[in-house]
Amino acid sequence: MTFMGFVLSAVAVAAALGVVFNRNPLYSAFCLIVNLLAMAGLYSVLNAHFLAVTQVVVYAGAIMVLVLFVLMLLNLKAESGRKLGIFRTLIAAIIAGSVVTTVYPSVSANFEQLSIHALQENAWRSEGTVKAVGEEIYGRYIRQFELSSLVLLIGIVGAVMLSKRKHSTIGPREGGLGGMK
C-alpha cells in the first residue's frame, strides 16, 4: 500500500506539471484528468473509498468533461512560444514563493504522523466509508453542509438569470438548435 501511495503521488505530481507546462490547452486538460484520477487512487489507498469514487464521479467525470467540451468547442490551437518579461517573471516568482512558504510549514508539521502513518498497511481506519462520511456530514457538519448547498443553489440561479437576460444572443432560438442551421 505504501508503495502504491508513492507511485500514485509521483503520477499526480507529474500530471500536475504536465498541466502547467503543456502548450496545448487540451493536453493540459488531459493531464488534469490524470492528476484527478491519481488523487482518487491516493484516496482509495488511504481507505477513503467513498471519497475516491466521488472524486471520479464529480471531478474526473462531470466537471472535466465540461471543461473538455468547451475546449473542443472553441477548438484552440497550441499557444505559440511566448516568453514572459523579466518583470512578470519576478512577480510570478514572488507570488509562487510566498504561497509555498505559507503552505509548506503547515503541511510539513503533520507530515510525519499523518501521511506516512496513513500510508502504512496496518493503518486501517473506518473514516472513509460511506457510513462514516454520511454521519459526519449529516450529523456534526449539517449546518455547514446546508449552507454550502445554498451557495451552490445561488450559483445555479445566478447562471440561469445571466443566460436568460433579454437581448441575449446566446439563448435558445426557433428550431432549438441555437442557430446551428
Binding site: H49, F50, V53, V56, G61, A62, V65, F69, M72
Partner: protein
C-alpha cells in the same frame, strides 16, 4: 490460494464480459437481419468440406454455426480487424489516437469487477464471493466508470482531426453528461429503498416478500425508476434511438470516423460490453439478480450458486435482446428532442421519484 482464487475470478469476469459482448454482436447481426427481413451473415464456415475422418464428426456443427453467422461474428470480424491497415490521420497525436479505444473499453470492464454474478458459496473449505472487488459503495463505482468512459469518445473525436468526428464527440459528451444525472438519481432511489450501497445486499434484500406475497424486486418497488433507468441507460450506451454521436446520415460515423482495424473494433467491443453491463445492472437492481420468485435455493451450496448464475444470465440475455430490438425498431431522435427528454422529462421525473421514495421510506 487466496490469490489464486482472485486470479480465477478476474479471469472469469473478464471473459464473461467478452463473451457477453460477442453474444450481443451476434444478436445484433442476426437480430437486425431478422427485423429488417434480410438473411444476415450465413456464409463463413457454412460450406466447410474435409476428407479427414477426424474432422468429419464436427462438420455438421461447424456448418450449422456458419449458417447461423456465429463463425462470421466470432472469427471473421476479429481476424479482419487485426489484418486491416492501422490508419492514423495526419496531424493527430499517435499516442492519444491509440489511447482512445482503450479508454472506451477499459472502464466498462472495470465496472464488471464490482458486480456480483452469483450468490456466495463454499467449495473445498473456501467461501467464495463471486465478484472481483467488494469495495465500499459498489454502485457508485459503476457510475464513476460510466463517467470515465466519456473520455474515450471525447479523445477519439478530437484526435480524428476532422469536423465530423469532433461534432460526434461533442454530441456524445453532452448526451452522456445529461443522462448521467437521471441515472444517478435512480441509483440513489434504489439505495434509499434497500438501505445499502452494496449490490450484493441489494440483491439479497430483493428476495424478501412484500406483504408475504409479492417479491420485493426493484421493478415492483421502483417502477418509475426502472423506466427512467432504461431510457437513461440506453442513452448512456449511445445506441438505439440515441445514437446521435455516430449518426451516419449526418456525421459519416461520428467520433470513430478516423479509426480502422482493431481500434475500430475496440469501440464496438466497448459498446457491446456496455450493453451487457447495463443489462446486468437492470437484472441485479430491478429483477432480483439470481432470485427466482417464491423459490428459495439453499444457501452456500455450489449447485445453488450455479443455478443462481444461470438464472441471472438468462435475465441478462433477455435485456440484451430487448436493447437490440429497441435499437433496430425505433428511428433516431433529433438532437433537441434528445436534450429535452434528458433535462425536461427524465430529470424532473427522477427527482420527483426520489423525493416520493424518500418520503414513503420515512413514513412507512
Amino acid at each position: 490460494m487466496e490469490l489464486g482464487i482472485l486470479l480465477i475470478k478476474v479471469f472469469i469476469v473478464m471473459n464473461l464480459s467478452l463473451v457477453l459482448a460477442s453474444l450481443c454482436t451476434w444478436l445484433e447481426r442476426k437480430g437486425s437481419a431478422l427485423i429488417q427481413d434480410r438473411v444476415g451473415a450465413n456464409r463463413a464456415g457454412a460450406f466447410v468440406e474435409s476428407k479427414r475422418w477426424y474432422v468429419k464428426p464436427a462438420l455438421p456443427v461447424i456448418r450449422a454455426m456458419g449458417w447461423l453467422g456465429v463463425i462470421n461474428t466470432l472469427m471473421c470480424d476479429s481476424l479482419k480487424g487485426l489484418w486491416k491497415e492501422d490508419f492514423v490521420p495526419e496531424g493527430a497525436s499517435k499516442f492519444l489516437h491509440g489511447l482512445a479505444p482503450v479508454i472506451a473499453v477499459l472502464p466498462v470492464m472495470l465496472a464488471f469487477a464490482v458486480l456480483p454474478l452469483a450468490p456466495d458459496f463454499t467449495l473445498g473449505g473456501y467461501t467464495i464471493h463471486p465478484r472481483v472487488a467488494a469495495i465500499d459503495g459498489g454502485l457508485l463505482f459503476v457510475l464513476a466508470m460510466g463517467s470515465v468512459a466519456v473520455y474515450g469518445v471525447a479523445i477519439a473525436g478530437w484526435t480524428g482531426n476532422n469536423k465530423f468526428s469532433l461534432l460526434g464527440a461533442l454530441r456524445a459528451a453532452a448526451q452522456m453528461i445529461s443522462y448521467e444525472l437521471p441515472m444517478g438519481l435512480v441509483f440513489v432511489a434504489i439505495i434509499v429503498v434497500y438501505g445499502t450501497l452494496d449490490v450484493y445486499s441489494i440483491v439479497q434484500e430483493q428476495q424478501k416478500l412484500l406483504w408475504g406475497v409479492i417479491p420485493m424486486w426493484g421493478v415492483v418497488m421502483q417502477p418509475v425508476g426502472f423506466v427512467v433507468l432504461l431510457l437513461a441507460g440506453m442513452a448512456e450506451t449511445k445506441r438505439g434511438p440515441f445514437d446521435l454521436p455516430e449518426a451516419e446520415s449526418e456525421l459519416v460515423a461520428g467520433y470513430f470516423t478516423e479509426y480502422s482495424g482493431m481500434k475500430f473494433l475496440l469501440f464496438w467491443l466497448g459498446e457491446f460490453a456496455e450493453i451487457a453491463l447495463f443489462a446486468l445492472l437492470l437484472a441485479l437492481l430491478f429483477f432480483g439478480g439470481w432470485d427466482i420468485p417464491w423459490v428459495t435455493l439453499p444457501q452456500g451450496v455450489w449447485w445453488a450458486a450455479l443455478v443462481g448464475h444461470i438464472v441471472l444470465m438468462t435475465k441478462v440475455v433477455f435485456f440484451c435482446v430487448l436493447q437490440i430490438v429497441i435499437r433496430w425498431t425505433l428511428p433516431r431522435f433529433r438532437y433537441d428532442q434528445l436534450m429535452n427528454m434528458g433535462w425536461k422529462m427524465l430529470l424532473p421525473v427522477a427527482l420527483a421519484n426520489l423525493v416520493i421514495t424518500a418520503v414513503l421510506k420515512v413514513a412507512l
